[in-house]
């Protein structure tokens, strides 16, 4: 069996004639009804969920329809801004593969008030990496009201709730 292909070593790659192309890909995505209302809630310092009358799940991030029951949803529920860590990681690499001095701690956080196992992705802060545990109780740290714009980053991060197991 013949396997072809010329692997360029790092020096070859530096010396090869290269054409650079810088894409300019800009998008302005419509948030729509469900996510739009969720973002509005974040601006007001609230985490909103939505309830499916058929399967009785309370969902976050909210959506305009239940993906399991296939029915439209309209029963909004205000959730707490606390939750439990379902899973987490300690990342020493940035999104563009640079080494980070101070690691980032992404986590899936099950929000209190939503159905079990229903969580959102966010970052953890004000915590030492070695102290993070699955099941840890955390609370959202919000931006100042004047700085909130209606985005997921209106929550800066989630920090551990002291005195709770």
């Amino acid at each position: 069996m013949k396997v072809r292909g010329k692997d360029l070593k790092k020096d070859d790659f530096e010396r090869t004639i290269k054409i650079e192309y810088h894409p300019k890909l800009l998008y302005a995505w419509d948030a729509g009804y469900a996510v739009g209302k969720f973002l509005q809630g974040l601006k007001e310092g609230k985490i909103l969920g939505i309830r499916c009358r058929k399967c009785d799940r309370i969902l976050v991030p909210p959506r305009a329809f239940c993906e399991l029951c296939f029915v439209p949803l309209d029963e909004w529920v205000e959730l707490k801004d606390t939750g439990r860590v379902n899973t987490f990681s300690i990342s020493y690499i940035s999104w563009d593969v640079r080494r980070l001095e101070k690691p980032e701690i992404p986590a899936v956080i099950e929000i209190d008030g939503a159905s079990p196992g229903i969580g959102i992705l966010h970052l953890l802060g004000e915590v030492k990496p070695e102290e993070v545990k699955v099941g840890m109780k955390v609370k959202a740290v919000w931006k100042k009201e004047s700085e909130r714009i209606g985005a997921i980053t209106d929550i800066l991060y989630f920090k551990p709730l002291k005195g709770e197991e």
């Binding site: 054409i19 192309y21 894409p23 300019k24 890909l25 800009l26 998008y27 302005a28 995505w29 419509d30 948030a31 729509g32 009804y33 469900a34 996510v35 739009g36 959506r63 305009a64 329809f65 993906e67 399991l68 296939f70 439209p72």
Partner: protein, 383 residues
């Protein structure tokens, strides 16, 4: 073993619009899916396979396939994305049903092109990176080159191309789903801004947002669901010459090849006598005439004259693009052709109201994937 037929039993679409800021793509697709499933009389649990059509850069999301199942009720079911236009999706589900393993399939396409801030920069990404992109020209230049060659080879005039725009935008007035119904004159088209001559601004179909979902079913499922199906009599898809350096600019080879195959599959020997209406891709005005000739509705060079004589009008011999085509509905990358399929389905069911073609029994739909491709498909529907 007799091959079971495959038919369309439900089709739902949201009205095409130039922009749709109040809804996300999920919500638009959910609405279209609900309409389609209701018409087909099914719940999503009964569907065996889902095919969605999308291209990452149009959405601004890599692996857009991820975001597809929820709004179709397809969670934890066989779902996949095909990078092709609506007819490719229909071909894919058709083939899956024909294997004998699947009974009911769903095809979905949508457009949120209004969310792309600089469309030209996305289109530029479609150009071949080493030999074509460096020109810095807007990708429309390829259409300009093609139009010039087509007009030269056929003797068709720019005025004929302008007629295409005028007639199809007027047809759209009777299509409640169309985004750009209007009455304009051929002078408006001829005097519009030059883009890449001979291509002018109004020779280009305007973009739109929309969503459309179809339900296809095998013959035995159609019977047990007690639906009236519009049957797929022929379907074919082809890629001609992928790159502009090896392309015959005057001809639409993908349309010639796929139409020939589809007509053969449907057992149609004379398209002018046996087909009652046609929907062809008119994303550029001259393309309509090129496609009409490529699929055999007119001889080379004749399409302009026939158009002017009203041959392709509602009252003509073979109505073309009664839906309004891309010019009237809006150019929605993969989705527009499925709006055209919806038109043919309505006509064949006798549900087309005041634009009903009498005795509509067989319809042909032809598609093209757009610049810079040479890929397209043809579908023949019948009752």
């Amino acid at each position: 073993m007799k091959e079971q037929r495959v038919g369309i039993i439900g089709i739902g679409a949201v009205p095409a619009r130039s922009a749709s800021p109040d809804v996300s793509y999920r919500e638009m697709i959910f609405e279209a899916a609900q309409k389609a499933y209701y018409e087909a009389g099914i719940e999503p649990e009964q569907v065996d396979t889902f095919v969605c059509l999308s291209e990452d850069f149009n959405e601004g999301v890599s692996i857009f396939d991820e975001y597809v199942p929820d709004q179709l009720g397809a969670v934890l079911k066989p779902v996949h994305t095909i990078c092709g236009d609506g007819l490719y999706g229909i071909a894919s589900v058709f083939m899956q049903i024909r294997t004998g393993v699947f009974q009911i399939g769903v095809v979905e396409a949508h457009s949120k092109l209004s969310n792309i801030v600089i469309r030209g920069k996305v289109e530029e990404m479609g150009l071949e990176p080493l030999y074509t992109r460096w020109t810095g020209l807007h990708s429309y230049f390829i259409a300009g080159l093609e139009m010039r060659r087509f007009l030269y080879e056929t003797g068709i005039k720019e005025e004929d191309c302008a007629e295409v725009v005028r007639r199809f935008k007027e047809n759209a007035i009777f299509n409640p789903l169309a985004a750009y119904p209007s009455r304009i004159s051929t002078e408006d088209v001829l005097n519009s801004r030059k883009i890449a001559t001979p291509l002018k601004e109004l020779d280009i179909a305007p973009q739109a947002d929309g969503a459309v979902v179809l339900v296809l079913a095998r013959e035995d499922a159609v019977r047990s669901l007690k639906r009236d199906a519009v049957w797929i009599e022929g379907i074919s898809f082809f890629t001609g010459e992928p790159h502009i350096d090896s392309r015959d600019f005057g001809r639409a080879s993908y349309a010639e090849l796929s139409a020939r195959k589809a007509l053969e599959m449907a057992g149609i020997k004379n398209i002018r006598k046996e087909v009652n209406l046609a929907e062809i891709c008119d994303v550029f005005s001259y393309k309509a005439l090129q496609h009409i000739e490529a699929i055999g509705l007119a001889k080379k060079g004749e399409s302009g004259m026939l158009l002017r004589e009203g041959f392709f009008d509602f009252n003509g011999e073979i109505p073309v693009n009664l839906s309004g085509g891309y010019m009237g509905i809006g150019a929605m990358s993969e989705a527009t052709v499925l709006y055209q399929v919806l038109e043919v389905v309505k006509q064949l069911r006798g549900e087309a109201g005041n634009r009903q073609v009498k005795n509509a029994k067989v319809g042909i739909v032809q598609s093209w994937r757009g610049i810079p491709t040479s890929s397209g498909a043809t579908l023949i529907l019948g009752v």
